[in-house]
């Protein structure tokens, strides 16, 4: 078991205090006790700089973008497009117009399911997803497959919560039009071998969508290195604001796909007879964009870059391993998901206790965890459990907080048995 004092030098401790002071909410008291926020996979907290830039935006240059000749509109447009290039750089996309702003991962995936589906999927075709997908990477494909007479195939997992890659290869036949998998499981914490999945799919000319909602804040992603065709993620899970997400798509696919929503921004010309569509990225950005949120997201990326993804990953790995060791000391505790490669979520159950009961008693100790199926019901069915307790970490969490979690779970078990 890792020991607090062994692994964290004094300098590192100072770092953490500095980091925590960047996130105002971490100073909040809940029921009179300091908040222990371990629900980061649901949504992360926001640094001051993100809040500041959004406030400034509204106070200094709020305006509609792209269509305005006046000063505020120019300033807002510039900030908006600088943000796009910032996202482009963060994922190393080849072109800035391959970055489409959406309202979140869910919308990004729905966009692809709808537009890619209309263009490329016919009756008899199939789509591959995995057994550990979030509902947002299941239901859009179900809706699309149902509409187009296609079928959904599922990569199975082992008891540790790892994809069975051999079975995946078996599924890759000529009916498959797209593979959609998550990079990191929000429930199990499993990090999937997405590079390998992409290479294998590409060997058969099948494009791949990666759901990076739980990866983008933990792992450096280079879309050109991965050669991924579509990447989806949410701002609110990477220290950015709500109501913004990204769809990265390779230019060649995005150009071939029909538009998703119709409206302002996405058209070149409109007449009642015939409308023609705008170039990328605007073709997929109908309506007044989420300018404030996009600008906020850009500053969140700045914050991540300044902190360093390497540092973030290292800290989070320390926390996870420290937490796993701590939790394992609890009798009858069962980890759900024990993949070799893992990121910031840990799911567990204790004896016969119901996760909802454990979550509620943790809450009363100011420890925020999530309980339930975490929008991965099929995964719960596979493990034959009603749900789990999930603690999910960010680099601003501390070993002290992990200790509180372990103590809190012990108290819950005592009360409940």
């Amino acid at each position: 078991m890792f020991n607090d004092n062994d692994i964290i030098t004094k300098a590192a401790k100072l770092d953490i205090e500095k980091i925590r002071s960047d996130f105002p909410i971490l100073q909040t008291l809940v029921y009179g006790q300091p908040l222990v926020y371990l629900d980061n996979a649901a949504t992360t907290q926001k640094p001051k700089s993100v809040l500041k830039v959004m406030d400034e935006y509204y106070k200094e240059y709020n305006s509609n973008v792209h269509r305005g000749v006046h000063y505020l509109s120019q300033k807002a447009t510039d900030a908006f497009e600088v943000a796009r290039r910032n996202v482009q750089a963060y994922i190393n996309a080849k072109h800035e117009h391959e970055v489409i702003f959406t309202k979140g991962t869910t919308e990004s995936i729905n966009l692809v399911a709808s537009s890619f589906g209309k263009r490329f999927v016919k009756a008899g075709d199939s789509i591959i997803i995995s057994a550990m997908e979030h509902h947002s990477n299941i239901v859009p494909w179900q809706l699309m497959c149902e509409e187009r007479g296609a079928t959904l195939k599922v990569i199975p997992i082992n008891q540790k919560g790892e994809l069975l890659m051999d079975e995946f290869e078996q599924l890759l036949d000529e009916t498959v039009k797209l593979v959609a998998v998550t990079f990191v499981s929000n429930t199990l914490g499993t990090v999937n071998p997405v590079k390998e999945i992409i290479d294998k799919a590409h060997a058969q000319n099948i494009p791949v969508l990666v759901d990076a909602a739980q990866a983008i804040q933990h792992i450096g992603i280079d879309v050109q290195y991965l050669d991924v065709d579509f990447l989806a993620f949410s701002g609110h899970k990477m220290y950015g604001p709500t109501a913004v997400g990204v769809l990265y798509g390779k230019e060649k696919w995005l150009n071939e796909m029909p538009p998703y929503q119709g409206g302002g921004e996405m058209i070149k010309t409109v007449s009642f007879k015939k409308s023609t569509y705008n170039v990328l990225p605007f073709k997929f950005e109908a309506g007044t964009p989420n300018v404030t949120e996009v600008i906020g997201l850009s500053v969140a990326i700045d914050y991540i870059n300044a902190t360093g993804l390497d540092y973030i990953r290292e800290r989070e790995q320390q926390l996870i391993h420290y937490a796993i060791d701590g939790l394992k000391s609890i009798a009858e505790l069962r980890l759900i998901g024990e993949a070799k490669e893992r990121a910031a979520s840990i799911s567990f159950l204790v004896g016969n206790t119901h996760p909802f009961d454990v979550g509620e008693i943790l809450d009363k100790q100011a420890i925020a965890v999530r309980t339930g199926h975490h929008c991965t019901e099929p995964l719960m069915d596979i493990f034959k459990i009603p749900g789990t307790v999930r603690a999910s970490f960010a680099f601003y969490n501390t070993e002290e907080e992990v200790d509180k979690l372990v103590k809190g779970v012990k108290k819950a078990v005592t009360l409940l048995s």
């Binding site: 119901h354 909802f356 009603p386």
Partner: protein, 141 residues
Amino acid sequence: MTINEKQDQIIEDFELFNDWMEKYEYIIQLGKDLPLINAQYKTDDNLIKGCQSRVWLHADYQDGKLFFTADSDALITKGLVSMVVQVLSGHTPKEIADADIYFVDAIGLRSHLSSTRSNGLLSMLKQMKIYAIAYLAKALQ
């Protein structure tokens, strides 16, 4: 006792507890007591699926009054369910239909009732009222 008298009684009882731990211990104890429902009624028909826990509810009508039995897979929910059943059972459909259940909030367990998102307990209360209204409607015919 009226429904509100019963609720006030529970609230008063809870004021005796010194901290949340004692409250929960009490509720959990209620939950651990014998199943509140006859096994034959623990069917899918009687199941109320909340967002986190499941609740089974059965209603009997006798001498103008409704009697409830229930169960849940989560202990705290079960304890609460047992209190709600105690509060509403043995009253007329009209009393139940008109009842305002405020004790859960008052004893500091609002996570079980807040938000419009139905969870087990909220759905159960709704279901109890639906039973009551159904009997009311029948009575009017």
